[in-house]
Subunit: 319 residues, 2 copies
């Protein structure tokens, strides 16, 4: 197949490029490098099965030749209010990537008769009142909140994707991606995992916002990519959660990180405005992924962290 | 002031034109007539304070001269699945009016330094689990449902509007409009009021989907327009509900209509797929409108229906 991936230089996009090239496909990558990084795809330059265009998906997309699949992964995605690359700080670009980018890529899929896959997110569930989250849960998102620029962009993108399926018969699919980690993730993206892993490798106490009872579920990137690719190859149209359902408290998680990295510095509890804004609990119900795709995560947290450590050490100049 | 109104040939847009022209403003109207009607604004042609452009808001908007206010009312809005003009049947146009149309009109307000007013809707609350609905209620909308093309477009539009306020300092406002009725409403728009009023005037029994216990709150258009204009003149940025909080069951409502029209044919109860999809209850909490705008509805259902009857009779050739 010939597959277009937007956001190809992002954390997930670049792993998808690797996986699909490895499966024998031709990949066309798009990225405007606002949050993506050249370093994530520099190893693909010169690969005759990989073509790259520097392009903003909010503008009209013209890609020469026929496409068999279009995967829309372009968007700012960092929830770190302190990062200039966070969606909070790129609010209009984030909404344009979700609305105009989805519209442009759906148009491309329609014109090419291609399979379409939208990268959606667990953020469409907002701060969930149902736990774990099934795909039928309508979510709890405040349209006026600072997170809404990302959440509502993805909610809009889902509805537009299904409108193209129903109205134009485009062969669409939607993956709702939960917390993911692994090599090439943004160390500054503001999520608990990179923050803590960085602190542990530097021998610092791990910062916990609030009392650490809030939970997270972390999926290793290879598991996630396997689930996404199975969805791409399937004929499913309705949203499918892909994530790791093993839930642990932030405190348990911090302890596991300190153990694996042999960090003796312990943890520090901090009251912070952020903790009020972050969802308290988030865990995917992956029944649909199991039934439709025969997929479930294979890599546990310890194994995943071990695979991720070399990348963090290199980025921190500790290698 | 010089005020741009998109959707100027629609039910609400055309009443807004009348009100603002009456208040001494200059009005620039835009409509592509997909769901708007020339008949709604034909009386304004030749008015030197009214300029009209036939234009689709999803395309770039260029309006010569300075604007003091931009009001974005363009969107398909009928929930009647049998109507070719319903948002169900114009799903992509509806999403484009909400996303691209809001983006284009916000850009215009930004360039002109104009006050911006977004027409949002009670539909952003979906099928509410909180009753009545305060502006803080995050809503219960299924992104994958057939109504989502309208609901998510408006949710997206709200978030984008606030992003322009926060990021670019645009002087934005958001009105969440509840059920409204009056002259120039679409007789075929599929809502309970026009359906029943039509049947009553034709001497037919009024159709009630389900058992009639589902409730509605209906606001007469003059009340609504007064609330919207007060919001425009204010400096409020966060969403404000405008609607009539007098709630009644569909059955009570049918009985009131039969009484006012002296229709002896009674009611018929029908089981129908639609009833499962319609929200069961919808009523605005208007505390914010009262406090910020000093606004509340003045026209009760009987008075409003009396003002609406001549229009319905004319449309039904009963005048």
């Amino acid at each position: 197949m010939r597959i277009l991936i937007t956001g190809a230089a992002g954390f997930l996009g670049s792993h998808l490029c690797d996986k699909l090239l490895g499966d024998g496909h031709d990949v066309v990558g798009l990225d405007n490098f606002i949050t993506g990084s050249e370093a994530n795809i520099s190893h693909l330059m010169g690969n005759e099965h990989f073509t790259f265009y520097k392009h903003d998906v909010s503008n009209y997309i013209f890609v020469p030749g026929k496409l068999d699949a279009v995967m829309h992964f372009a968007s700012p995605a960092s929830p770190n209010p302190l990062s200039p690359y966070a969606y909070f700080n790129l609010p209009i670009q984030t909404m344009k990537a979700g609305a105009l980018g989805t519209h442009n890529t759906l148009g491309l899929a329609k014109a090419s008769g291609a399979r379409y896959l939208l990268a959606s997110t667990s953020e469409i569930y907002g701060d969930p009142t149902e736990h774990p989250q099934k795909e039928t849960y309508p979510g709890n998102v405040d349209t006026t909140g600072p997170r809404a620029v990302y959440d509502e962009a993805k909610r809009f993108a889902e509805s537009l994707t299904l409108a193209y399926h129903r109205q134009h018969g485009v062969n669409t699919s939607i993956v709702r991606i939960f917390n993911t980690y692994g090599p090439r993730m943004d160390l500054e993206d503001g999520r608990a995992l990179p923050n803590m892993l960085k602190q542990a490798l530097l021998g610092q106490p791990l910062t916990i916002y609030g009392d650490g009872s809030q939970t997270r579920s972390f999926c290793y990137v290879d598991d996630l990519v396997e689930g996404i690719v199975r969805l791409l190859y399937s004929q499913e149209h309705m949203p499918v959660n892909i994530g790791n359902p093993t839930e642990m408290s932030i405190l348990q998680f911090a302890q596991a990180i300190n153990e694996i990295t042999a960090n003796p510095a312990g943890v520090t509890f901090i009251e912070h405005a952020r903790s009020a804004r972050d969802p308290q609990r988030r865990r995917p119900d992956i029944t649909r992924a199991q039934e439709i795709l025969g997929w479930q995560p294979q890599i546990d947290l310890r194994a995943g962290l071990q695979k991720t450590l070399p990348y963090f050490k290199e980025k921190l100049n500790l290698a």
